[in-house]
Structure formats: structure tokens, C-alpha cells
Symmetry: C2
Subunit: 374 residues, 2 copies
């Protein structure tokens, strides 16, 4: 089925962390996997740099410590953080969770079509994929607009579904000015779900208020705990999704929820309120330890949360329903904005990585792996 | 229905923590609640000092800092720990979760019978209770033997039931040489459930091995993490019940579970293993913060766990089944051992509280509120 002009080799961005604590980022040319029936080769033209990609790219290494070694970037991982990545040590990992591009070979009906795809190894000029796993882009959607159809939109929708499945009626989100957080503001407004947005800077609060967010709390404010308690009392939120991970924030959220629950219950209960309070940690913007002072009774839970596990539990019909909503609202709710488009080689420029690895609000980059190729 | 000689006043041990951080323990004489139809007055003759009682008695106050003030004991709570007890501040709380004694008034058929009871305020010479909530003790069970029918036995059984309900097949227990831990060793042996016991001292390990425990790991040993990984690999335990709460132990357990799960899965998974790993914190022997380094992937949970919540979820039939098992195995699996019997007044002796508040293995005390009364 392979067309005679199908590419047989491709360049991809890879990351290796070694047992002795070195990290190496490199562009490598390798043979593409042989094309099987029902597969396509996609020339990738747009892929967002998501926080989950940075996790694969850098692990716990600091971008500030990266230096050039020929065309590669090298750096180090502190010894105490190596156990977090024990399963990947000394393996060369391809990077890139999602993207969009043009089919250049394989299943004939798809050749020439623009498609979105998901599943790793997408920071590459060419990516082989199963034809039935790619999503054809409508004519009015640009390739860049179609590059981020999966990770952030489905994660934001799955958070709201998790809230419902676990019998909560409102939710809390941290690092709430993120690309994902902005989508969540729109979803919750459309669905009538009260949302408490926790941000870390005044300008992030302003950004979310500009989007119509009602409850925005700034953790850098001296009145943070009081503000949080007030927002939780107003919304009755008893579940939170936390992108920060490290530090005291998850515990502060549980504590504030418990203060509200205690007030509503009235009177003393020896073990705190019986209202179940839940925080799911889905990111690690702060890689330091999570510290819980346990000032929140006995009815609480903290756990890891991953879109993949949600989809496995929810099943294919629910996943399809969520994907359809993303497709329907691609230019509104789920529109992403990028500060800059860079090539694969430019992704390894220390000046660029210093910016995009910060995950700063408004500094999201888009990689075009076919930019700058001969 | 009240007999003419029914007691109308009673002495009970009470604890107050004030907003300014003072704790006061005192014996107070108060009128008993008026006896209603279907109620009894129990002369309490035996009540164990459980860790959950110490939580009510002392809150986060250190027993070492308690001093006499007349017949009372007074001490202080560090300001940073006051938020944990915010709902009880400035309230006088009665102490004592369970016990046994003789019915001295009320429902005539029960007068003169020895019964076990549960539900708070039991460190008192007399306790009014609903007749259908007390459990009559068989002739061959002494009052002391019947004093601890509820808290530890049901907690230990409920841990095994929670393990089953959440689809795990083996479990981990910390502070495993405790009275409760010893019961759990016997339950798990009888039920064929693999159990990993974590203790903090070599003599505790020896005690449990003497009871036939197969997997005992000492957290004070230099090889603790390796030993824990080996025990988890041998048992496939993916759920733990932790009585310690503070410090790094809960995170270490999750990390060791993840190491085992990663080895079994083989190969690299970007977000760690997909095996769900759970720790329930049911006690607070270490009142310091819980510190999680999150070196255990994304499939994990930590939460508070309370017998009351388990019973509410499991329903009355399941609760009755567990209570029946306790009654059937009262002199074997669920036998408690006490180092000393003390009166209510002796419970406020600094020399005694210094011992029993340590929760040391083998230093469990029994209170007899009718000891030393005129």
C-alpha cells in the first residue's frame, strides 16, 4: 500500500536521562517503522508544547542548567529527584503527545488530507499512525488550530465529568490561568458548574476575570486563605484539580473546604466534618514534596489523576461524546493561543527552552516540525 | 420506668482546649440525663484507653507538658496546631469511646446484667444508654474482657473489608505491633490475607513474629526500603492502613509499591505504573505534616479513614456480621491485654498519663471508673 514516494526516515526530538543524572536532548534521524495496511504517514506541521510534554522532555531537570553540546542540549538531574524517573533511566524517549499535519503516504483516501493525531512521538517531521486513530480537520480549521484537540480539551472536560461521577457539584482548579484553565472557565460557564480559580499572580486573576470567571483567588495574596474560604462557601466546591503538586497548596485547599464544611455542619464532630473533600493532583509545576498538615478531619482524599485512566474507566462511548464536543467547539471553548511557532531545531535553542519550559501564562509555544526543513 | 435508687448524678472525665491554646483535663460531677423509656444506666467498670480516646483527651497537646492545677491537669497546645482542633475550641468534651459495666437502673430485664457499650462519654462512673445499643456479655466473659468489643476489633475487620471492597488482595499496616495490629495479624492469618507489618523497633518485630506474622519490616532499619519492597513483591499488597500519619512513611509505602508495580509491568510507562496504590491514614501517632515526594507515578491515593464512615457505607447487615465475628472470637482473635487498671482520678495522675499517652506497645491501660469511689 506504500506509495513509492513515502518517506522512509524521519527526524524526531528525543530525551534521555541517565542513571548518573545526566539529561540529553537531541534531534535524531531514524528509519520510520514500515507502513502496515490501514496506516498513514503524517507530515507533522503543528504540535503544542504542553506541560505533559515538558515532563517527558526534561523530567525533573531544570531548563536553566541546560547547555549546548554540538546540536544537543545537556544538563543534569539532582540525585534526590532521580527516583521519580526510575523507569525511564537510560532510555531514549521520543517527545510530543499530540499535533496535526498532512497525510503524505499510506491509506490512499487520506493522502493529502489534514489530520490531528495523538499518542506520543509527535515532535517529529514524520509520524506513522493508524488511519482510524487520526481525526480529519474541517476546511475552516487551520492545522495550527487543530494541533491541540486532545490533551487540554479532553482533560478539562474529564475534570468536570469526574466531579459529576464523584457526586460533587462545584470544583476548584489551580494554576487556573493556564491554557487548560481558560478552557475550564468556559466549560463551567456553559455547563453552569461553579468554579473556584486559584492563580498565583494578580495579572492572571485579571485575565480570568476578563474571560468572565466569577471566583478567582490569588494564592500570593495575604488574604488567600480567607478569600479561598469565602469562594468555597459561595460555591460548595468539595473537589479540586491541582496542577502544582508540591508545597502546601493541596493541604490548604482541603483545610479551607473543611472550614466551610465545619461551619455548615455546625457544632463539634470529634473527627471533623463528614463531608468528603478531594484533591486530584494532575500536574507537577512544583516538583517539591507535597506537605499536608492534616487539619481537615478524616473525610478527605488526595490522589494522582491522569486523563488516560479517566478514559479507561469512562469507556469508549463517553470518550467519543467528549471528543465530539471538542470538535464542535474548537474555535470557541477550546481555542488555543500561541506566543510563537518554532522548528524542532529551535526547540533545542536554550533561549527558547528558557521561555517555554517556564509554563508561563501566555507563553505557550507551537512546534512546527516541518519548519526549516530542506 | 426509673427505679427509685437510680443514680441522678455522675462524674466524668472531660477535656477542654481553649482558643488561647490551653488544655484542661478534669473530673466533673454533673446531673445525668433523665432516663427515658428504653434506656438504662450503666455503672462503667472497664474502658480501654484507645489512641482515639487520647485524641479527644489531649488533642495535639503534649502529655509531657501537663501539670497539676488542684485536681485538674493543665497544659498547652502549640499555636500552629490549634487549627486542627478548631471545631472543639472552648467546648468541654467528655472522653471514652467504649467500655463495659453493670446495668444499675432502667429497663428492668437488663438491671443487674453486665453489658458492653459504645459511643462516647464512657470515662464516667455512670452512663445512660439506649437498651438496644448495649451488648449483653456472656457469663464466661469478664467485664474487662468485654470492655473493648468495638473500636479495635471492628476497625481491624473493616480494614480487611475495605481491602476487599477496593479490589486489593493483600495489605500493609503500620504501627503494626499495636493492640489493633496484633488482632489484624490473627484476622489475616485466619482469612488467608497476606499482610505486611511495619513496626518501628526490633522488639516489636519480635513480638509480631511470635504471633506468627510472616512479613515484618522495621522502619528503623537501614535496609527498610529494600525490606519493604521485598515484602510488597512477595505479597502484592497495594493498599496500606497507616496509624502514624505524619512524616515520610505514607509516601515511602507508595514509592515501594510503585517500584514493585514498575518491575512487574516491565518497560517504561511515561506516567509510572497504572497499578492503583492506596494509603489510608487512620491515626496520627506522628502529628507532624505528611510529606509526599510523589515518586510513585499517577495511580495513587491517600485519604483519611474512619470506622464510622466505613460502617455508614457498608450498612447495618455488614456491621452486624462483623460484630458477630467479634463476639465469637472475643477470647482469641480479639483478646486485649492491659498493663494496668486505673481509676478516673488515677487517669489524671501525671505519672500515669506519661505512660499511657505514649501509646507504647504493651503499655495499654484500662480505666475502671467505679474503682476508688466511696
Amino acid at each position: 500500500m506504500t506509495l513509492p514516494d513515502a518517506p522512509t526516515r524521519g527526524r524526531s526530538l528525543r530525551s534521555t536521562i541517565t542513571s548518573d543524572g545526566r539529561v540529553r536532548l537531541s534531534l535524531e534521524e531514524r528509519p520510520l517503522p514500515e507502513l502496515a495496511d490501514g496506516q498513514v504517514v503524517v507530515a507533522v506541521e503543528a504540535s503544542p508544547i504542553n506541560p505533559s510534554d515538558l515532563g517527558v522532555l526534561l523530567g525533573p531537570a531544570s531548563p536553566a542548567g541546560l547547555t549546548r553540546d554540538g546540536d544537543d542540549l545537556v544538563g543534569s538531574v539532582p540525585a534526590e529527584l532521580l527516583p521519580r524517573v526510575r523507569d525511564r533511566l537510560d532510555k531514549s524517549l521520543p517527545v510530543g503527545n499530540e499535533g496535526a499535519g498532512t497525510v503524505v503516504a499510506g491509506v490512499p483516501e487520506l493522502v493529502g488530507k489534514r489530520v490531528a493525531l495523538f499518542g506520543g512521538s509527535i515532535w517529529a517531521d514524520y509520524r506513522v499512525a493508524d488511519a482510524d486513530a487520526v481525526v480529519e480537520l474541517p476546511d475552516d480549521v487551520s492545522t495550527a488550530e487543530g494541533a491541540a484537540l486532545f490533551v487540554n480539551p479532553l482533560t478539562a472536560l474529564a475534570m468536570v465529568e469526574t466531579m459529576r461521577a464523584e457526586n460533587h457539584t462545584a470544583l476548584v482548579h489551580t494554576a487556573a490561568a493556564s491554557n487548560l484553565g481558560q478552557m475550564l472557565v468556559k466549560i463551567c460557564a456553559d455547563d453552569g458548574v461553579p468554579l473556584v480559580n486559584i492563580v498565583r499572580k494578580p495579572d492572571q486573576a485579571a485575565l480570568l476575570k476578563g474571560l468572565g470567571a466569577e471566583h478567582v483567588v490569588d494564592s500570593s495574596s495575604a488574604s488567600f486563605m480567607d478569600d479561598l474560604v469565602a469562594a468555597l462557601a459561595a460555591t460548595n466546591a468539595t473537589i479540586a484539580f491541582d496542577a502544582i503538586g508540591g508545597g502546601r497548596l493541596a493541604g490548604q485547599i482541603l483545610t479551607a473546604m473543611e472550614i466551610v464544611a465545619g461551619r455548615k455542619a455546625g457544632g463539634f464532630t470529634r473527627y471533623g466534618s463528614s463531608t468528603h473533600k478531594q484533591v486530584y493532583i494532575y500536574g507537577g509545576l512544583d516538583t517539591g514534596p507535597t506537605e499536608l498538615n492534616r487539619a481537615f478531619g478524616m473525610a478527605w482524599g488526595i490522589g494522582g489523576w491522569l486523563l488516560t485512566y479517566f478514559i479507561q474507566k469512562a469507556g469508549p462511548e463517553e470518550a467519543q461524546r467528549l471528543r465530539q464536543r471538542v470538535a464542535d467547539e474548537l474555535k470557541t471553548t477550546f481555542a488555543s493561543h500561541y506566543a510563537k511557532e518554532i522548528s524542532l531545531a529551535e526547540a533545542l535553542d536554550p533561549a527558547n527552552i528558557a521561555v517555554y519550559a517556564k509554563r508561563s501564562t501566555g507563553a505557550k509555544y507551537l512546534i512546527n516540525p516541518n519548519k526549516g526543513l530542506a
